[in-house]
Structures are given as structure tokens and as C-alpha cells.
């Protein structure tokens, strides 16, 4: 299959999953993260559904990690890879942003068609964050 077409279909299915699960609604996500409040555990089921589906299909297709063109994943599945400060610090920073907004990258991008100022501001700032990382860490 054409690589662009298959990527488009994957993005579309991914987005429909986010919309169906209501992960695109920051208030729903924050209700999941708010264990001390009116806790809504639903979004844990999104992870269960996704992990079971992907885990099962991965076993069936049994594609070796080396074939996957993705440096982040190569790092992650490399048995020699260690838990380093970057991983912890970066994930901790991401979590704070997620908790402040209720947006992680996928749902924020999906929100762009909703015409909400908050979505535009978040996505613009996120790309500035990507650029900030590139300018601080690339080539070192």
C-alpha cells in the first residue's frame, strides 16, 4: 500500500478512537486524573483496549523491532537502554503540562477543527516546545 495512504488511514482510525473514547475532551481527561475528586476511571479502559489490541496484533504479525524506523522506539526496546534523567525529567514535564490542560498531543491536534482558541494556543505552544527542544538539544 502507498505509504501516504496507509499513514492517512492510520491517523484517521487513531483520531476516531480518540473521539469515541472522549479523550479529545480535556474535562474528561482531567476527571480521570483527578483521583481525589469526582473520579472518572473510564480512560483507564482506553489504555486497556489499546494495549490488548496492539499487543495481540503485534504478536500475530511478529515484526522485529529492527525493522521499525523509529529512533524513539529503538531506544525504548533496546535491552541495553537505561532509565536516564532525560526520560524521567521529560516525562515529568510532559505530565505537568498534561495535568494543567487535560491535553496530550493527539487530542490537542484533533481539537484544531473545533474552532476553539484554547486548542489553537495549546498546539502553537506545543510546536514552540518542539522547536525549543530542537534548538537546545540537537547536534550535541
Amino acid at each position: 500500500m502507498n505509504l501516504n495512504l496507509s499513514a492517512f488511514i492510520s491517523g484517521l482510525i487513531f483520531g476516531l478512537g480518540l473521539v469515541l473514547a472522549q479523550m479529545t475532551n480535556p474535562e474528561k481527561v482531567l476527571a480521570f486524573l483527578d483521583i481525589a475528586g469526582n473520579w472518572d476511571p473510564s480512560l483507564a479502559l482506553v489504555m486497556v483496549g489499546a494495549l490488548l489490541t496492539l499487543g495481540t496484533l503485534q504478536r500475530l504479525i511478529s515484526k522485529p523491532s529492527e525493522q521499525i524506523q523509529d529512533t524513539d522506539l529503538q531506544t525504548c526496546v533496546n535491552p541495553k537502554a537505561t532509565i536516564d534523567a532525560k526520560l524521567i525529567t521529560g516525562s515529568a514535564i510532559f505530565g505537568i503540562g498534561w495535568g494543567l490542560s487535560g491535553f496530550c498531543p493527539g487530542p490537542a491536534l484533533v481539537s484544531l477543527t473545533a474552532g476553539l482558541a484554547g486548542g489553537y494556543v495549546f498546539v502553537a505552544a506545543m510546536f514552540i516546545g518542539f522547536l525549543l527542544f530542537n534548538s537546545l538539544h540537537r547536534g550535541r
Binding site: L54, G55, C76, F103, P105, S111, G129
Partner: protein, 138 residues
């Protein structure tokens, strides 16, 4: 105000898992959204077309869902300044940590990567603490 949504949450998760498996099968790529999105910078780089197509599919999903009668609820209560700060943290943090909810949380964990499990526990914890502070302390 919040309702447990068992079927739609599970169903949404299954779709996300399918999408990730699809990208793995046909593109040999991981469906890590932060990595795919950050990879379009700078935009004049070559061999990035698939990233634009993936993001186009992702973004078009909501209006398509509405077209077929579905409802898309997006309720943003945070002030714009907070959203700007949050966006910066999410953009920088996901690159430094090498993944987000999709890359580490789903793709990495599905491959039983210890790094991804540690990353997931870390961002879940700091997100939970942040929400606790914002909603119950400040």
C-alpha cells in the same frame, strides 16, 4: 457530571490499538503522536510526506465523525495563559522524554519496554499531582 463510559472507552482504545498496528504493518512506524508531529519540523525536510498524511487523517477524524451523526465534546476550562504554558511543557517534555501517551503509553508499553513503563508511571504521577494541586490545593 462525569459518567463512566465503559463501551466507548474500550471501543476507542481498540481503534487506537488498531491504528497503531496498521502503521506498524504498512509503514514500519510507531504511532507516537508527539514524535510524528515534531518530525515535520523543519518543514522543508524530505521524506516527511507520510507524517503530514497521518496528521491530516488525525485532524479530519472529528468533523468526519460529526458528519456521520456522532457528537464531539471538547470542553476547555483552563485560561489561555495556562494552556500556553501547558503546551510548551507538553512539547518540550515529550521530546526530552522521547514519547507521550501514545508513543510510551501505548506503543512502548505494548512492546513491554521498561523505559516506556517508567515514562508512563512518571507522567501519570506528575499529571495526577498537578491536577490535585490545581483543583484541591490552590
Amino acid at each position: 457530571m462525569n459518567y463512566l463510559t465503559v463501551l466507548s472507552s474500550l471501543g476507542g482504545g481498540v481503534l487506537i490499538g488498531l491504528a497503531a498496528a496498521w502503521l506498524l504493518i504498512f509503514n514500519n512506524r510507531t504511532a507516537g503522536i508527539s514524535g510524528i508531529a515534531a518530525g515535520i519540523l523543519p518543514p522543508w525536510q524530505q521524506e516527511n510526506a507520510w507524517r503530514y498524511w497521518f496528521l491530516a487523517g488525525l485532524i479530519i477524524s472529528a468533523p468526519l465523525w460529526k458528519l456521520f451523526g456522532g457528537s464531539v465534546q471538547i470542553q476547555i476550562n483552563a485560561p489561555l495563559l495556562v494552556l500556553a504554558v501547558a503546551g510548551l511543557l507538553v512539547g518540550y517534555g515529550t521530546r526530552l522524554g522521547g514519547g507521550c501517551t501514545s508513543g510510551h503509553g501505548i506503543c512502548g508499553n505494548a512492546r513491554l519496554s521498561v523505559r516506556s513503563m517508567v515514562a508512563t508511571l512518571t507522567f501519570m504521577t506528575t499529571a495526577g499531582i498537578t491536577v490535585f494541586l490545581v483543583r484541591h490545593v490552590l
